[in-house]
Symmetry: C2
């Protein structure tokens, strides 16, 4: 038996355990060669990767160190006794091997795999193997089983209203922060729209990151229910309520491997919405040369997959294809995006017209889930709610109920302008490059970091005139971003 | 700039760096989300996975901790200044993504991938993605490029003799320690046979582990050359001489994922032999229900792939299919296997007949690479060299030159017998189960741990009579092994 010692090392997302090289009666290296050990205590056990310590200050003989993740997930106190053994690989890895060999898996097998993944029994390597095997071939039936299983594992939000609406964009377009405008419009109309969003993983900001500039988004399930009861809606971070936790684990491997198949995307999005209790959903698919979906043909294939899976799971779906040829709005990064969103809600003259227009269109589609609204009347109703200030009032109530941020955040004070290399017209803006520059500047962790786009496609600029301004909260962030921007600005200016 | 601090934590096989959560002017969590960072100093750089430390005793602000692997691979002293940045993913990952999408890769692309893998630029997850994509489909041309590239990266041993022979078994059969008998026979005959072997990764012993019971196997390239010059042969560990290092990295991921495709196997074996300077090679493919190859049809497919790749790379090959239906010899585990090998070389009456027979057959095939020997004369010559004691004398010279182990090792003193459940005849012995029990007992790290098989297939046993004896060097090892053996003995006894 070994005694638990908590080690203040965070190896997100993996469980790591630490064992002294010598003096345990165990051969630590032999365990390490097997990559994973099972740590079992009173009535809890976890799998962990083993690191070997040679430092007696970190760890004594007879002790097993647990990194932050492992300590939290095992849930036993320091000093508790545990035993270790070679981890028996999860049974479901046999199914992954069959998938690698080209087999199609049945519902039970997919359920077993996802169950083990959600409980952190797979290493990133094993998850990657499953995802790559699926990327090779995945049947519609497998995608359906995957989506259903992911939705069923973790929390399930329940609502009393028979119609619970949501909207979701598949992502990839910087600045496309329409949810923060659509939600207050829909709430003002009276439909139930409990919107849970993710934080950015590889993009410069997620809806949760941007909303957090204005209000607390870290709500418990009870707090979330209370806000929705009073205001019809909420704009919260989904991470706290544990919806489709398998999705979060899969994403942590999909992102670095840049696996972005339609099957995984559909399963990811629809499982989260089902777990969140949505009944009616608008999906926004931006199409453009640097978007996730690059042609209308691809967009139609994706739409059909969304529709099939949603239909089989009892979800009413409306898929909208939108212009994904350039970023939306002006600001990229949490503070700059929040500024744009509030400018639209306040009906300011300088509010970005493209962001306003797109939000109104999407809000109109969501509003038409209301059986009372005549077909085609959604857009006009959205205009009315925005123009009259009712949407702004709804947003202000949401902010107040979630917990308004006391001291406003400002755009980062370290700034640099990127100028046009020639006199000419802006022909294209690359979404990927703009996103990467904003990230290098520090977004989304540094809320004020990002990019302010001063000109968009079709506008004329003079040589040397600023195309955009980089904001950062540190000299290092500004230097990182500037280095890439000066190499590749992301703008194509045609003389 | 951050100052290097060496952290006594071994995260084999990955590079790990440690950064304090706060106070660096860096957002450690943001870097961690990207999984990998690039650490660059004066004229060296490495990629590493980032762990976040919250313990000021481990690490101060302005410092970056490097785990054992990272510290050694970067090669800079403690206190040296380095900068960190988001790791640019290796360019070759684009080719991996194309392979995932079903593309066939050309030689240049495979070369780029293997080059990056050999330099530890891929995470296990990324290596797994490449391997799984290859398991889906791999052309003969790709296998050829893979083998050639793997052989070219790392050290290349050079020999003056035009004929340099070797033999290799694809593995999977416990106790099949023929190399330690074949090598002295061939050396006594006068052919050059510089045998480098691996240590066991998932099996109870590799040739290097068993040879190490008798002699030092950790030879530098110069020492290895010197032994071969004097004795025609060597029985050394290959890990020190850095042959096909990409193979070692790939294997570290293949084993836990149990990816064992013929393409990877052929590339792994032939790349190591090419790098070792072999010109003539006997490949042993055991076929049996619990062996790696389970049918003659599969064995023929594997043989053809070996032959094609070897031919294209200028290697003369003789593929032998052998009985893989049960373990070979009696002992499983380093000390017990070494005992069997020496019993055969000493022509002891109680030497395991099956081990002796198989070694003679394989030695005969190797000897026939000698143009002087008439076809079919190899076996007789092998008999002569073994029976006359010339092979034993050659082995004793090898042991002396490599460095004889001073104090002999004994089988583990913690012992337990597993008895037959019925009166009957032994119908089958499962190679996997026997290997796992021997490993649980502590082999190969605990040299004396393992299994002594007291009866083999076809022998009659009485109820309760011992089928085999487990040896361990610790009470814990004996308990682990006994637990599995009492659940599943690995023996089928037909009443």
């Amino acid at each position: 038996m070994l005694k638990i010692r908590r080690i203040a090392i965070d190896t997100h997302p993996e469980n790591t355990a630490f064992l002294l090289r010598k003096g345990n009666g165990y051969s630590a290296e032999q365990f390490q060669a097997l990559r994973k050990i099972r740590i079992a205590g009173a009535d809890a056990s976890i799998l962990a990767t083993l690191a070997i310590a040679d430092d007696l200050e970190l760890l004594g003989p007879g002790e097993i160190g647990l990194g932050e993740q492992a300590f939290r997930r095992l849930g036993l106190p320091e000093g508790a006794e545990v035993s270790i053994a070679q981890a028996q690989p999860p049974q479901s890895l046999e199914y992954v091997r069959r998938k690698i060999d080209g087999d199609t898996l049945d519902d039970t097998e997919i359920r077993a795999i996802i169950g083990d993944i959600a409980c952190y029994r797979y290493s990133p390597m094993e998850i990657g193997a499953f995802l790559v095997a699926c990327a090779g071939f995945m049947s519609t039936q497998e995608t359906l089983a995957l989506t259903r299983t992911m939705a069923e594992i973790g929390s399930q939000l329940k609502w009393t209203s028979p119609v619970v609406v949501d909207k979701h964009c598949i992502g990839g377009i910087p600045g496309n922060r329409t949810s923060m405008i659509v939600v207050p419009i829909v709430a003002a109309h009276g439909l139930i729209m409990p919107k849970t969003s993710s934080r950015a993983i590889t993009s410069p900001s997620g809806t949760a990151d941007t909303m957090e500039v204005l209000a607390n988004v870290d709500l418990s399930e009870a707090e979330l229910q209370a806000v929705v009861e009073q205001e019809n809606a909420v704009l919260a971070w989904g991470g706290r309520v544990n919806l489709s936790p398998a999705d979060d684990v899969l994403i942590s491997v999909e992102r670095p491997l840049r696996i972005d198949t339609f099957e995984q995307m559909v399963a990811s999005i629809l499982s989260k919405k089902l777990a969140a209790g949505s009944t009616h959903l608008v999906i926004d698919i931006p199409v453009g040369p640097s978007a996730k979906v690059r042609s209308e043909r691809e967009a139609i294939r994706l739409r059909k997959l969304f529709e099939y899976i949603a239909h089989r799971l009892g979800l009413t779906l409306d898929v909208v294809m939108t212009d994904g040829s350039q970023p939306v709005g002006r600001g990229i990064g949490p503070v700059l995006e929040a500024r744009d969103v509030m400018a639209v809600l306040r009906n300011n003259d300088d509010a970005p017209a493209d962001l306003r227009e797109r939000a109104l269109m999407l809000a109109g589609r969501v509003l038409e889930f209301d059986p009372e609204l005549k077909g085609g009347a959604g857009y006009a109703r959205a205009m009315e709610l925005l123009g009259s200030g009712q949407a702004l009032a709804a947003m202000e109530r949401l902010i107040a109920k979630q917990g308004k941020r006391e001291t406003p955040l400002e755009p980062g004070s370290f700034q640099h302008h990127i100028g046009s290399p020639v006199n000419g017209t802006i022909a294209a803006i690359d979404c990927h490059v703009i996103a990467r520059i904003a990230r290098l500047a520090g977004a989304p962790m540094d809320k004020g970091a990002g990019i302010d786009l001063l000109h968009k496609v079709g506008e004329r600029v003079r040589r040397g005139e600023a195309l955009y301004r980089i904001h950062a909260e540190s000299q290092a962030g500004l230097a990182f971003a500037r280095e890439l921007a000066e190499e590749t600005s992301g703008y194509t200016v045609a003389p």
